[in-house]
């Protein structure tokens, strides 16, 4: 009798297991995505949210098809704090090694916030043959390494905008300002970090020198600076018509407030991260009208002419209950997970070398436009979202509206000069 009862219980147990619907993706071994980021910065925080959003979507729809097995993605995130002043690059390298060696990450996504860290970490991922897709670091030094020693550095890709493409957008805007208003004197204010320094350098050589602009001065501010009066006074004294700011630190919002309160008669046109999101108008008490800001990748802002960007932006709003505020990183963070999924499925494996080869063949239409990697493993950005990925320039207008003014393919209006600044034409 006891034997029969035991048998009956076991039979019921196995039957229960057998009839319980098991999602193949959750049963199979997960694919570990290591996310070393900097959560103290908005780009890092929203970027991680976008990674998780994409992973949730993919896992809900069954996971990633690796050969004949459906495997889920699993996110292991570390706040490596690479964006913060004073945090040594060695700490960020350690975070990458922990993800690879202890957490057994198959891939590093969105990693190494600052270029200084990203470039150093290329050696780590190269050593362990773990593909890495960058979502914030912007220095072209990454591409240089890929091109000079491909076998060693081929594991690194970048989905976000880089400094060279940023220069193209800013250069296009400067050309427009020169053509429309006759402006030709600029004062550059940039954060003293690799990507911003490089962007400033390239702007001088590739844009201003070639276009015949006069760079009347340049000031570089360490991360954490909170007084920009020196640069603004110099800009005014030297008769600058345009101020080119290049900053991604939270304190850089002070620059806009000072620009307004000191009545500096020059157009602010460049990149100040706190000015990118829709919340900036309220944050700065509506005192940013006229300021122009680059949105590094569309999707971070909905562009009606690119439906996928609107779809992504609204999905984020629905999931997290608040809009994207960062102008850099969220959309690439989301798209890179899908890019990786498609590459793994093409490769039929999570082997680093095979996935690298598959990533190189990426061709996807997403929130940022069309996503394809160049030979240097950088996503190609341009002015036509049907052909390349896209960034744009916006101008803040009353009553708190962001109007796209560049490139012409997606522009919603023309550049307007702020009060006190007159056209030279």
């Amino acid at each position: 009798m006891r034997r029969r009862t035991c048998f009956f219980v076991f039979a019921l147990f196995f039957l229960a297991i057998w009839i319980t619907p098991i999602n193949n993706a959750t049963a199979a071994e997960p694919i570990i995505l290591g996310v070393p980021t900097s959560l103290g910065f908005l780009e890092g925080k929203e970027g991680l949210s976008c990674v998780k959003m994409a992973v949730d979507e993919i896992n809900t729809s069954g996971g990633v098809k690796v050969g004949s097995v459906m495997r889920p993605f699993k996110v292991v995130a570390i706040d490596a704090r690479g964006a913060e002043p004073g945090v040594p690059v060695s700490d960020v390298i350690r975070a990458h090694k922990k993800l690879i060696l202890e957490d057994k990450a198959n891939f590093i996504v969105f990693g190494s916030f600052r270029s200084e860290c990203a470039i150093a970490c290329m050696d780590v991922v190269g050593q362990y043959k773990v593909p890495m897709i960058l979502g914030t670091a912007m220095s072209p030094g990454m591409q240089k390494k890929v091109m000079t020693d491909y076998d060693k550095y081929k594991y690194t890709f970048r989905a976000c905008l880089n400094a060279i493409y940023l220069v193209k957008y800013l250069g296009g805007t400067m050309g427009y300002l020169n053509k429309e208003f006759g402006f030709n004197k600029v004062f550059i204010m940039n954060q003293d970090v690799a990507w911003a320094r490089k962007t400033g350098d390239i702007m001088i050589k590739a844009v201003y020198d070639k276009m015949g602009w006069e760079v009347v001065g340049r000031q570089q501010y360490p991360t954490g600076s909170s007084d920009f009066s020196a640069g603004l006074m110099k800009a005014k004294a030297k008769g600058a018509q345009v101020i080119l700011p290049i900053f991604d630190m939270p304190q850089s919002g002070i620059l806009v407030k000072q620009w307004k309160s000191m009545h500096i008669p020059a157009l602010m046109a460049g990149f100040i991260s706190p000015l990118a999101g829709p919340g900036a108008w309220k944050t700065f008490d509506g005192k940013i009208a006229g300021a122009m800001n680059c949105i590094f990748e569309i999707g971070n802002m909905p562009v009606p002419k690119v439906p996928k960007s609107v779809e992504f932006y609204e999905k984020y709003l629905k999931k997290y209950g608040k809009p994207i505020e960062a102008g850099h990183s969220p959309a690439p963070a989301y798209e890179m997970i899908y890019v990786l999924k498609e590459a793994i499925e093409r490769a039929g494996s999570v082997n680093g070398d095979k996935v690298v080869a598959a990533l190189e063949k990426t061709d996807r239409v997403g929130a940022m436009g069309r996503i394809k990697f160049g030979k240097d493993h950088q996503v190609v950005y341009g002015n036509n979202p049907e052909v390349e990925a896209l960034g744009c320039m916006i101008q803040w207008r009353e009553p708190g509206k962001r109007v796209i003014v560049y490139p012409p393919s997606v522009a919603e209006g023309k550049i307007q000069l702020p009060e006190g600044l007159k056209s030279l034409k």
């Binding site: 959560l39 103290g40 910065f41 908005l42 925080k45 913060e84 002043p85 003293d192 000031q219 570089q220 501010y221 360490p222 954490g224 600076s225 909170s226 007084d227 009066s229 020196a230 640069g231 006074m233 110099k234 004294a237 939270p250 304190q251 919002g253 002070i254 407030k257 000072q258 309160s261 000191m262 009545h263 991260s273 706190p274 999101g277 919340g279 900036a280 309220k282 944050t283 700065f284 008490d285 505020e325």
Partner: protein, 290 residues
């Protein structure tokens, strides 16, 4: 340009003086360590923001409540932490510094990250002085710094309580023989120091953004001013703020802003070599030891 540099140099000096005042009162004058000072500054900023934006209180009420909260925090730090390790300066420093780190990282943990954490200015607009525009908020900062410095000088030199603050730093046992309740005075010193940090936060933060990292900078700046001016000396704080403030502004205007941080560090190094107790302090014991 020179006139503008002078004006903004004054504002920078006033900001440094405001930042250092509470730290100087607690650590310099009373000898009670409060290395959670930067955290109290950030805590006060976020408190005002929460009262104002989340709860919807009027600005003035939010400011007053934030200052009261800072005072309560000061009392908690003293009775909850300092009292248990009193007499062990290194432990006091480490415990309060640890508490400061915990407070700041808690804000980060609870998602107080981003650009939206700003406070409105007291009075909007700016004034044109000799072709240099200066906003009213910066003028208010200058005014409050002058008033508080003068008030602190009077308090520590001409009131019984102020003298008691100094007495417990000089020799706690002797102070006890004169009937000074050192625990009571120490707690008050900590509470007033925290209130001064809150006042600094309330007037300075409307210029920019409330960021967790700001707490570390505040502590470094306060330390720099106190080391250069001399711990415990209100006049020293004033002179050191002016020296460092103007040096930083001139460096930013005539050299490069990224050299600004070096100004404080060089000033600290020079003072520690030439006059280790600071420009206006009289800690002979320290000088003799060096």
């Amino acid at each position: 340009m020179l006139f503008g540099t002078l004006i903004y140099g004054f504002v920078n000096s006033a900001i440094l003086a405001l930042l250092a005042m509470g730290f100087n009162l607690t650590f310099g004058i009373s000898g009670v360590a409060n290395f959670a000072y930067g955290a109290v500054y950030i805590f006060s900023g976020f408190s005002v923001w929460i009262f104002l934006n989340t709860i919807g209180l009027p600005y003035l009420i939010s400011v007053i409540l934030a200052i009261i909260l800072a005072i309560l925090m000061g009392l908690f730090i003293y009775y909850g932490i300092i009292l248990r390790i009193k007499g062990m300066p290194l432990s006091e420093v480490m415990a309060t510094f640890g508490l400061g780190l915990a407070i700041m990282e808690l804000f980060r943990y609870f998602d107080f990250v981003g650009f939206r954490y700003t406070l409105p200015v007291f009075i909007d607009g700016s004034l044109n002085i000799g072709d240099v525009y200066i906003d009213y908020q910066r003028m208010i900062i200058g005014l409050i710094a002058v008033v508080l410095t003068f008030g602190l000088y009077l308090f520590t030199n001409h009131t019984r309580m102020g003298l008691a603050f100094r007495a417990i730093a000089q020799d706690e046992r002797t102070a006890l023989t004169f009937g000074i309740d050192s625990d009571h005075v120490g707690a008050l010193s900590m509470a007033i120091g925290c209130a001064l940090a809150a006042i600094a936060a309330v007037v300075i933060l409307p210029l920019g953004t409330i960021a967790v990292e700001g707490g570390y900078e505040v502590l470094i700046n306060a330390l720099a001013v106190c080391i250069v001016g001399g711990l415990g000396s209100t006049v020293g704080i004033l002179v050191a703020s002016v020296l460092i403030g103007y040096s930083q502004t001139f460096t930013a205007n005539y050299l490069e802003p990224h050299w600004m941080m070096l100004v404080s560090l060089i000033a600290i190094a020079v003072v520690l070599i030439v006059k280790p107790s600071g420009l206006f302090s009289h800690q002979k014991e320290l000088e003799e030891r060096i």
